[in-house]
Each structure stands twice: as C-alpha cells, then as structure tokens.
C-alpha cells in the first residue's frame, strides 16, 4: 500500500512501531515532522560543535612544545573537521541544506557545545580538553551509536572509531605534566579545575529540566538520559584523576557503595545558562572567526564554480 493511502495517525503508528522494535529509520522513510525537526536540531548542533571545537585547540598548534606534539594536535583538529563533514552530510539527508545550517550557526539560531566558549590559556588545556571534553563527547557518542536514525547512527560509529585517540593523547599530556616539575603539575591542576565542571555541563540540563528529553527518548534519538550519561562520566573520570595525583575539583565527590556510583556536588547552572546564552568568554570571538573564515573562503568557492563552468563549455565544444 502506498503511503498516500494511510492517514497521518496510521503512518505515525507504523513509524513508532519500527522504533519500538529497534529498527532504524532511513532517509526516504516517512517520519513525523517533529522527529525530523528534532534530529535536524540535534545533528546540526553536533556538527557545529565539531567545527567550532577546532578553534580552542587550533589556538595551540603553532605553540605546541614539540614537533611530535604539533603533529598530534594537527591530526586531532583535522579529525574534528572531518567529523563536522560527516555530520553535516548526514543532516542533509533530512532535507536541509548546508548553507541553511551554516547561516543558523552564524546568526545564533543554532547552538554548539558551550564548552568551546571557554578560552584555552595554557598547554595543559590541550591535555584537559582531549581527556575531559573529548571523553565526555565520547560517552555521549557511544550511546548515540544506537540512535534510531540510520545515517546518524552510522556516522557515530565511524566517529567513535576515529576519536579513540583523542582522549588518550589528552590524558598522556596530563600524565606528563602531573608527573613533571611542581610548576607543570600546577599547570595540570589548573587545567583540570577549569575544564572539569564545564565538561559535566556538556551532558546538558538535569533530566527534569531538559526541554527535549522525553520526546527524544520516545523516538530513541537519545538512548540514555543526560543524567545517566553524566554519572557514567563522573564514575570513569574519578580514578583517572586519582592516578594523576591531582586534587579532585568536586569536594563533595564520594563513593556510594549502595548505588554503585559516585555522589557528586551540584553544577553551577547559572554559569551553564549564562554561557549558552552568549555570555561566555569566547562566544562572540568563535562566531566572528567562523564568519571571517567563511568569507575568506568565498573566492575558493567562486573559483571552483568558474572552473566547473569552463569545463562544461569545453565539453560542449568537444
């Protein structure tokens, strides 16, 4: 039976049945407008995060302490660009154009992970970002490998595979600093202090305050809640901080044997909302830089177009 013979309610029921039985939704399938919109919002935000995320680390490429460190950092930033591309392409299967997404980013209509609005002040921050920020992102992305939209799930599988080195290279920077001179250890501690809490914020508001969570869970766009993923990250990070011999930034952190998890202190949500709403240290700078890079690339796009036209004409003559 063709889709046109079914009512909206019947289509939606069939759609939900697919989701409930763990089948993936593919680009040409019928889907509710809300599902499409929700996915476009989440996936484009994810893509923007990969792209804007290049800036804080790009800041240290020319100042990496050794050639090897520079090559590693370059490779990581290069990966982020690639991940942005995978995600933009996957989002385009939902019927939105790349240009529309870029415009939404540049006008502020679309968000990106607010962690990237924090400045990178020292080399230690390259360690903390790889270890904590990529660590938190991986937690989230591992879970999203089971998301209900096929192209998103496949993109996540590819990204997770490539990203495993990001966290480890960051942790290695932290180990070297933490086991180094007292000044180096202090640098590691300072970076940990500045990036720990914002990393926890990456998982988003508490489930009880999350605007998109319930629908996203029903549609299996999200597979685990913000708070569950955050708990996972807190639990796995605690022994890593201990091994570094650094002080844990959360003074209320305590193992709870009954729950089998760590209890933790409350996040400063005022800071979270303030940064999301544009008042972080680098919000304006990040977007301005993106606009500048985009405009400076205009001549390349124009040249490619001109070349294509020229080839077309040649082809017609031949």
């Amino acid at each position: 039976m063709a889709n046109s013979d079914l009512t909206e309610a019947e289509l939606e029921a069939a759609f939900q049945e697919k989701i409930d039985s763990e089948q993936k939704i593919e680009p040409k399938d019928w889907m509710p407008e809300g599902y499409r919109k929700n996915l476009i919002r989440q996936m484009s935000q994810h893509a923007h995060s990969e792209v804007i995320g290049m800036q804080p680390e790009g800041n240290w490429i020319t100042r990496a302490p050794s050639l090897r460190r520079k090559a590693v950092l370059l490779a990581k930033v290069q990966d982020e660009a690639g991940h942005g591309l995978y995600l933009y392409s996957a989002t385009e299967t939902l019927g939105i154009s790349r240009a529309e997404m870029i415009e939404a980013l540049q006008t502020g209509a679309a968000k990106y992970a607010s962690i990237f609005n924090y400045p990178t002040q020292t080399w230690g921050d390259m360690g903390a970002i790889g270890w904590l920020v990529d660590g938190a992102a991986i937690c989230n992305q591992v879970s999203l490998q089971r998301t209900s939209y096929g192209p998103y799930a496949r993109g996540m599988i590819r990204i997770c595979k490539e990203e495993s080195f990001h966290q480890r290279q960051g942790y290695q920077i932290m180990i070297e600093l933490a086991l180094g001179t007292p000044e180096q250890k202090q640098m590691a501690q300072d970076s940990l202090n500045r990036f720990y809490w914002p990393s926890l914020m990456m998982f988003g508001p508490h489930d009880s305050d999350s605007a998109h969570s319930a629908k996203s869970m029903k549609w299996k766009i999200k597979r685990e809640t913000n708070d569950d993923l955050r708990q996972k990250f807190i639990d796995q990070t605690a022994p890593q901080i201990k091994f570094l011999g650094l002080e844990h930034p959360d003074k209320d952190l305590k193992w709870n044997a009954e729950r089998g998890h760590h209890d933790s202190g409350e996040i400063n949500w005022d800071e979270f909302y303030s940064v999301i709403n544009g008042n972080g240290h680098c919000n304006r700078q990040r977007i301005q830089h993106h606009v500048k890079a985009h405009e400076e690339g205009a001549w390349v796009r124009a040249a490619m177009l001109a070349y294509k036209e020229k080839k077309k004409k040649q082809y017609q003559v031949d």
Binding site: K18, Q23, K24, I25, E26, R68, A71, V72, A75, D79, G135, G150, A153, R154, S164, F165, Q167, R168, Q169, Y171, Q172, I175, Q236, P239, Q240, F243
Partner: protein
C-alpha cells in the same frame, strides 16, 4: 536494441535497516527503473535486502590503482592517529 548496447549499472543492497548499502554486483539495463527491477530479480531472490540502489557504472568516479601510492601512503607514517600509540598506565584499565 542488442544486449551489448544496454548500459551497465552497479547494484547496492541494504541487507537490514541501519546498515550501509553494499555493492553486490552489476547488470545491464535500459534505464534506472528497469535496473531496479532486474536487481530485485537477480540479487534479492532470497530476501537479501530491504533496499536497493542502482547507479550507472559510468557515473562512478574511482581512484586508480596507479595512484594508490600518492593517495594512501601519507597515512602510513602517522601512527599517532591510532589510540594504541598511547599506552595506558596499568592502573587505568580502559579509556
């Protein structure tokens, strides 16, 4: 029209929702529509798939074996792109 004059199409099949379309082979057909029908008859007689893509073979742009050195060798000397390049301390069992 003789069979030799028919165009070559490449066939890709998605065996299950959620998986990529995989190249399974090729066939001759008059146009896309016919290629799709033939592909169903030839490549999915045992329910091998839930979705088929067909594409004109001449529309595929492929890298050349002769180019493979300049294409792929630059990745060989970058072991730091792999997680295994960074040993984990014993105390941290996984990451």
């Amino acid at each position: 029209m003789t069979i030799e004059k028919l165009e070559l199409f490449e066939v890709f099949i998605r065996s299950k929702r959620g998986l990529d379309h995989k190249h399974v082979g090729s066939l001759h057909a008059e146009d896309h529509e016919q290629a799709l029908e033939y592909a169903r008859d030839v490549y999915t007689r045992r329910s091998e798939g839930v979705s088929i893509w067909v594409i004109r073979s001449e529309d595929i742009c492929a890298s050349q074996e002769d180019d493979s050195e300049s294409f792929f060798d630059p990745s060989d000397d970058k072991p730091y792109r792999h997680a295994t390049y960074y040993p984990l301390p014993k105390e941290i069992d996984n990451m």
